[in-house]
């Protein structure tokens, strides 16, 4: 099981957050802390790059909905990028794709904020 890692970079007014490893009940509090810290700084446009994510548990999935909701309340959003197939299948199965925007390219994810 790979350790969960978070790396963040700023792209214009969007925060691009790279996730790797397993996002489980144990590690998701770290993501929660990171996202809450961004929100406290007034950064409500967030893209989570999931390319190197190998697992996501139900608590992690639930938390993403909560983050997206909070971001939208402040005219921002939380979007997903490069979601691996096996994780996308789960997100889609549970209907989360109806509330979470999923992108396959970094440019489209970043530009979607200026378009909206």
């Amino acid at each position: 099981m790979k350790d969960f890692r978070i790396e963040r970079e700023t792209r214009g007014n969007v925060q691009l957050v790279h996730l790797s490893g397993s996002l489980d009940m144990y590690s998701f509090t770290r993501l929660e802390t990171q996202i809450n810290s961004l929100f406290h700084q007034g950064q409500y446009c967030v893209v989570l790059d999931c390319r190197d994510l190998d697992y996501i548990g139900s608590a992690g999935l639930g938390a993403l909905i909560g983050f997206a909701k909070q971001a939208r309340e402040h005219s921002g959003d939380l979007k997903l990028l490069n979601v691996p197939d096996r994780i996308f299948k789960i997100i889609e199965l549970l209907g989360f794709t109806k509330v979470l925007e999923v992108h396959t390219g970094e440019d489209s994810a970043l530009e979607s904020f200026t378009a909206s």
């Binding site: 009940m25 608590a59 639930g62 549970l94």
Partner: protein
Amino acid sequence: MAEALKGISVSCSNGEVFVRVVGRGTFQNGQPLRRYALEMMGHGYHQFIIDLGQCQGMDSTFLGMLAGIGLRLQQDNRKGQVHVVEVGPRNLELLQTLGLDRLFDVQTTNNFQVREAVPADADYKRLPDTDIADLTKPLNKNDTADLMLEAHDNLIRADHRNVDRFQDLTKFLRENVEKRAANEQKRKDDTP
């Protein structure tokens, strides 16, 4: 550990149900264990021993499903309980975070009390389709959503502090389940 035991294996002996989780316990393999537990409760089994010695981690749905077993045993006043044994530090933290250490009898790797009649390895049988790395059937959308909702409702019933943690998820799942029920009802009504 033999490859055959990867996933969730079960056995019963002396009125006790033994469950061994090898690998992860998640919403992907929680349903077979839930069904088995209900069946065994129906047969009068009240003590469930969950061995987490080889469990790499559990998600909230799996933990909520276990909480459901514990709550049902309590609610029916059967003097039954879920005993979670061989709990390592990581899984212990999960149980404590969700307040389940107050619902279950938790025995860590340090304070594990060996039971009189622990089944031999050969007596365990693996529940079908519980090795999440090798699921043979795709998950059913409705069953998975129902399990997730029920499990998170259980976590909230077990410890009210979980409301804040899971309210967005339960709201989303409940809305979907209600929408689905309304659609099914409409389909029935429309059928001549």
